[in-house]
Amino acid sequence: MSSGRATRSLFDWLDARYSISPLIQFVREKEVPLGEHSMAWYFLGGATLFFFTIQIVSGVLLLMYYQPGEATSYESIRYITTQVPFGWLVRSAHCWSAHLMIASLVVHMFSTMMLKAYRPPRELTWVTGFVLFSLALGFGFSGYLLPWNELAFFATAVGTDSVKSVPLLGNWLLQVLRGGPDVTINTLYRFFALHVCILPILTVGLISVHLIFIQRQGMAPPRGERKAPRGMKFFPSFVLRDALLWLVCVTALGALALLLPYGPGIPGVEWELGHKADPLAPAFPGIKPEWYFLWIYQLLKEFPPHLFGLEGPQLCLLLVTALMTAWALVPWLDRKARRDEPSPAFSDFGVAAIFFLVFLTLKAWDIGGGGGDAQGAQLPDPRAVAWTCAWILLPLAAAVTLLRVAVFRHRWFVFSAAALLHAVLHGFAGLSYLGAGAIAAVLAGLAIGVAVMRERRAAPTMGGGP
């Protein structure tokens, strides 16, 4: 019997039992909508999923040697990286892949925002994506502690301490998260359970829901068209392109893991093991969380001890929660996109969010502030840091704005202008970060108010004469 006939009979055997023909038919007919925008954005979800798969595989390999415990966590990671054949490579791949996964997830989320792919009926795809993003941050945070080194210890102490600001439940949450009032080895046990069991189960479940939504509804067509004018066959055209991207990803990951096994050495993107955690040692200067938490770390520094009757960290957490909630609810807030109309304000909101995050992240790196010494006698000058970061942001923002005007024909810049004004007032005029932010927010509010009034006045005349 030829191999073709054998395959055919196997298929018939399976089809008779599990009715797989409709599935094959579905894949054959499935198309990816093509429009004015670049197709590149469609592949970012797949790239994120690919890096997540690498995380699972490399994580399982690390589990073969890792032993959670006060006397074993740090030692087992050191054993993996120094004794086990290719152990350093597995750990390096796990760390690099984690950073690349978050990076592709961030770009995927912002591209979805810019393309308004959250328009009805895809609101829940956005929400599940947002929850997946939160889970990915949870993976990063919980995995950070597992080597039980100094950096991990203090980053966890700071990160978990923030939850005490949650009204009513704060203290209980803190105790549950840490397994006690302070970060101890009990915290590591809990984080280990989170990292290798609870979060993977939740993530795999939610990825399934996210993918089912995408399969049921298809990928979002370009705005203004319920159905795309033309499409690309999902199989084989799109799948082959996806496979090619995955090949590029694995090659890039391999190269990075080989050439920079402990990261590029930038604070927030490094995983040198360093010293073992000592709960009785003071925190060391220059301590920074991973790059995707740097903006929150910096924001915590910008708040004064007390404001509006609340403590600074409480107010900061409140602001972060409000921003995150607004981000999760964008499909409902963007009413124009719901009507399939252009919503330039929300495109600009996305760009402003990028400026806001970039400025805070640059500041968190203390760029231009001079080095601090081990005793803290020479701390980076915050004025110089703000000045330098504003100078870096300005040309970057100018380039982005030029691109938006020239290529995408954007004409709405209130939010991004406010984000830039914030940086300028803080960096060049020397205003406090929050003071500059308040002025920029008030001016943006006024500009939006004027725009809305003008739009309302223009609406009846646009509706036609008597």
């Binding site: 102490a157 700071v158 397994g179 003071p282 915590l300 520094k301 803290g376 701390l379």
Partner: protein, 158 residues
């Protein structure tokens, strides 16, 4: 008889048997959920830590560390205490946990200040906030050195 049957009918219309059964079922489902969740919630919250609450005499190694580094962080019960020697040679003790985000502070002898490197919080030698985001002063404790050079630390009850 006729009036009674009308009243019964009115009650049965307002509270038909299915509605009552549905309400009971929902109530029992809630009860079942609570009976599952309560032990889990109690299980997750750790037991309070036990430890000495009275004065604690520091070990020889801790005393030597204070002499050498001018400060040491010592566990007294469930509190981490920063014990240090100020420029006048006086022994002081403050809570080692920064009131901002819980990092462990350090004594900077050259600057005569307590510093939290995590978010650049600065305190004076009595624990008062000098600069940075910490919202509250560091709690003060007591450290006493006896004639033999031994150091005893007592934690202030909050």
């Amino acid at each position: 008889m006729r009036g009674a049957s009308l009243a019964e009918k009115a009650i049965s219309n307002r509270w038909p048997r299915r509605r009552i059964l549905d309400a009971m079922l929902r109530l029992s489902a809630l009860g079942w959920l609570a009976s599952v969740l309560y032990p889990v919630i109690r299980y997750l919250k750790p037991l309070p830590l036990q430890g000495p609450t009275g004065p604690v005499r520091l070990s020889q190694a801790e005393v030597l560390k204070i002499e050498h580094d001018k400060f040491a962080i010592v566990p007294i019960g469930r509190t981490r205490v920063l014990v240090f020697e100020d420029p006048e040679g006086e022994l002081r003790a403050l809570d080692a946990k920064c009131t901002h985000e819980g990092c462990t502070v350090r004594y900077v002898p050259g600057e005569s200040l307590i510093w939290c490197p995590c978010h650049n919080g600065r305190f004076d030698l009595t624990g008062r906030v000098l600069a940075g985001p910490p919202p509250r002063p560091l709690a003060r404790h007591t450290a006493i050195r006896d004639d033999a050079g031994s150091i005893t630390v007592s934690v202030a009850i909050a």
